[in-house]
């Protein structure tokens, strides 16, 4: 509870920072942007890992296990596919 206010400050500042940074992203890269932010928000993996690792009850371990698998899929495929897409973006000069 004590950390509520600091957390809210962090939330507000991060949201504004996100707006500022992302507003300048070229429309060319909208799809990679979405897959990268998707991979980044799969940081929920760390929370899922704790639930699974604590092994407090079978129920939470199962829920945590599924959550870890789901977030890992997002982390792995999100970063890999963003890179795969970005490798395809080439300028004319480098081609010929």
């Amino acid at each position: 509870m004590d950390s509520l206010m600091p957390s809210l400050y962090v939330f507000v500042l991060a949201t504004f920072l996100g707006f500022e940074v992302i507003r300048r992203v070229s429309p060319l890269l909208h799809t990679p942007l979405m897959s990268l932010t998707n991979a980044i928000s799969a940081i929920s993996l760390v929370g899922s890992m704790v639930i699974l690792g604590e092994q407090k009850s079978t129920l939470t371990a199962v829920l945590g296990g599924i959550a870890v698998v789901a977030s890992t899929i997002n982390v792995v495929s999100g970063f890999l596919i963003t890179d795969r897409m970005l490798r395809m973006f080439k300028k004319r000069e480098t081609k010929s």
């Binding site: 509870m1 509520l4 962090v10 991060a14 949201t15 920072l17 996100g18 992302i22 070229s26 429309p27 060319l28 890269l29 909208h30 799809t31 990679p32 942007l33 979405m34 990268l36 932010t37 998707n38 991979a39 980044i40 928000s41 799969a42 940081i43 929920s44 760390v46 929370g47 899922s48 890992m49 639930i51 699974l52 690792g53 604590e54 092994q55 407090k56 939470t60 945590g64 959550a67 870890v68 698998v69 789901a70 977030s71 899929i73 997002n74 792995v76 495929s77 999100g78 970063f79 890999l80 890179d83 795969r84 897409m85 970005l86 490798r87 395809m88 973006f89 080439k90 300028k91 081609k95």
Partner: protein, 499 residues
């Protein structure tokens, strides 16, 4: 020395080792840098690396937490996720990018929802662990997480065409949706006041799951760019809520970045269609349009064969290609590249004009054209290409429809009136590759097709472009062959007649 080691890697239960704290902090900074670097093509790949390093640090830092007692299950689960995730990323065709994105939003939502549920049941058994604020955030986390889960699954189904892409509407739909959402909110507030009313918790989950389905059912294929962005935003916000529940600032930051990114994209998409959020979510586009299609009359269009079309392109000095979802469906991007190469080699200036909502997700066309090796400095945004179109010889439209319909500028009764379009009708000649004369997604006739300067090229995008490529490839260098007379086309400066 051993004291330092002790402080770095060990901590009392409930506290974080120094290494974990620092790794979370550095990860947060790296995530911000990742997005910053992603904003320009030159530095974008560096952004991915920054994100990966940040994620790696966060995972290592988490492994060191004293709460974690069992490691083998974590390793197993991560391995399973990796084994599923790697093939998805490496083998999936680029045309399926929108589907994959929808699916990963749903996985993200699921993970967050499950963690919220696990935390609730864990803390339910421990007195004093569910103060109102925490309970409220858990309710929000579960609501957003599960709603994103089923909503994104529905979006996936529509994009994969397992489900009908047309909007599904029924009477009183909005009232039912609002009622359901209101019940979910009430259940959440009730739980906040009485966290021990554990019967309400499964109800909340069930409501969130149902609401996610109902929210996406009435939304049609062409609105997918906005919806995917919005679901992206929800996925981020739910991760954020999880950060509040677990008191983890890294989660809050990463979630907020994702949330604001999705929000910005959906605003851009809405603006590009001249529609509001509420209209996209509750409007069911196809419905509105039906009334207008009533006045149908027999009108003639001019069509041309691949040979004729190839000759017109060859003799042009500037060509603007406007791709749309039809190009993605036909997987025609590689043929389009061949066409681009042949024309460029003959000295034709070929550019691509890309509407922000072309395709099924933001930036869809750019990725497909990049996949086909078309240099990205040939891809022009709508605002940049429109001033050039009056001086353009040929505008070639491949699988796009509503985003080129001049009625959006001139016909106040049109459902798409006011939507910014690519002004292909200003080009000297317009060529449209289309399978038939059927109306576009919005169900509206496109006046463009009946202009004097317009030539309809009937056929499948891939097949037709392939034929043109064959024609251009066979012909000897342009200078040596006498050119057959061109079909007469309209005068370039003629402004669009009132329709």
């Amino acid at each position: 020395m051993s004291d330092l080691f002790e402080a770095l890697f060990h901590a009392a239960p409930g506290a974080q080792p120094l290494f974990t704290q620092v790794s979370y902090l550095v990860a947060a900074a790296l995530f911000i840098l990742a997005l910053k670097w992603l904003s320009a093509p030159g530095t974008a790949r560096r952004g991915v690396i920054a994100g990966e390093v940040g994620m790696g640090l966060a995972i290592v830092g988490t492994i060191l937490l004293p709460e974690i007692e069992v490691y083998h299950w974590i390793i197993v689960a991560i391995l399973v996720g990796t084994v599923i995730g790697v093939p998805i990323a490496l083998l999936m065709p680029m045309t399926a990018v929108p589907q994959r994105t929808a699916l990963s939003h749903s996985f993200g939502g699921l993970a967050v929802g499950l963690v919220g549920a696990a935390k609730y049941y864990l803390w339910l058994g421990e007195p004093g662990k569910l103060p109102p604020f925490i309970m409220a955030v858990i309710a929000l986390e579960v609501l957003l997480g599960f709603l994103t889960f089923t909503g994104s699954l529905m979006a996936f189904g529509k994009l994969q065409e397992i489900l009908p892409t047309r909007p599904m509407v029924y009477k009183g739909q909005n009232i039912i949706n609002f009622a359901l959402f209101a019940i979910a909110i009430v259940a959440g507030i009730w739980l906040t006041a009485n966290p021990r009313m554990s019967i309400l918790f499964p109800l909340l989950i069930a409501l969130a799951l149902t609401f996610g389905v109902l929210l996406i059912i009435p939304i049609g294929g062409a609105d997918m760019p906005t919806v995917i962005s919005l679901l992206n935003s929800y996925a981020g916000l739910s991760a954020c809520a999880m950060g509040f529940v677990l008191d983890n600032k890294l989660l809050i930051i990463a979630g907020a970045l994702d949330g604001s990114s999705g929000f910005i994209l959906s605003v851009i998409m809405c603006k590009a269609m001249n529609r509001s959020f509420t209209n996209v979510l509750f409007g069911a586009f196809g419905q509105v349009a039906e009334a207008v299609t009533g006045r149908k009359e027999e009108r003639t269009v001019r069509s041309a064969s691949p040979e004729e079309a190839a000759q017109i392109l060859e003799s042009a000095s500037s060509v603007v290609i406007v791709p749309g979802y039809g190009m993605a469906v036909a997987q025609a991007q590689h043929r389009v590249r061949e066409l681009y190469d042949l024309l460029t080699r003959r000295g034709v200036d070929v550019k691509f004009g890309i509407h922000p909502v072309a395709g099924r997700m933001p930036g869809h066309m750019n990725v497909l054209l990049a996949e086909a090796d078309i240099p990205y400095d040939r891809l022009y945004e709508m605002e940049d290409i429109n001033p050039e179109l009056p001086q353009t010889d040929v505008a070639l439209i491949i699988g796009a429809n509503d985003v080129t319909n001049p009625a959006a500028r001139s016909d106040q009764s049109s459902p798409i009136y006011g939507m910014p379009i690519i002004n292909v009708d200003k080009a000297r000649t317009v060529m449209v590759i289309k399978r038939s004369m059927s109306a576009g997604f919005a169900g509206i006739q496109n006046e463009l097709y009946y202009l004097d300067k317009t030539l309809m090229l009937f056929g499948d995008a891939k097949g037709f472009v392939g034929e043109m490529v064959k024609e251009l490839g066979h012909a000897a260098p342009a200078a040596l062959t006498p050119r057959p007379p061109l079909p007469k086309t309209g005068e370039g400066e003629k402004v669009l007649a009132k329709v």
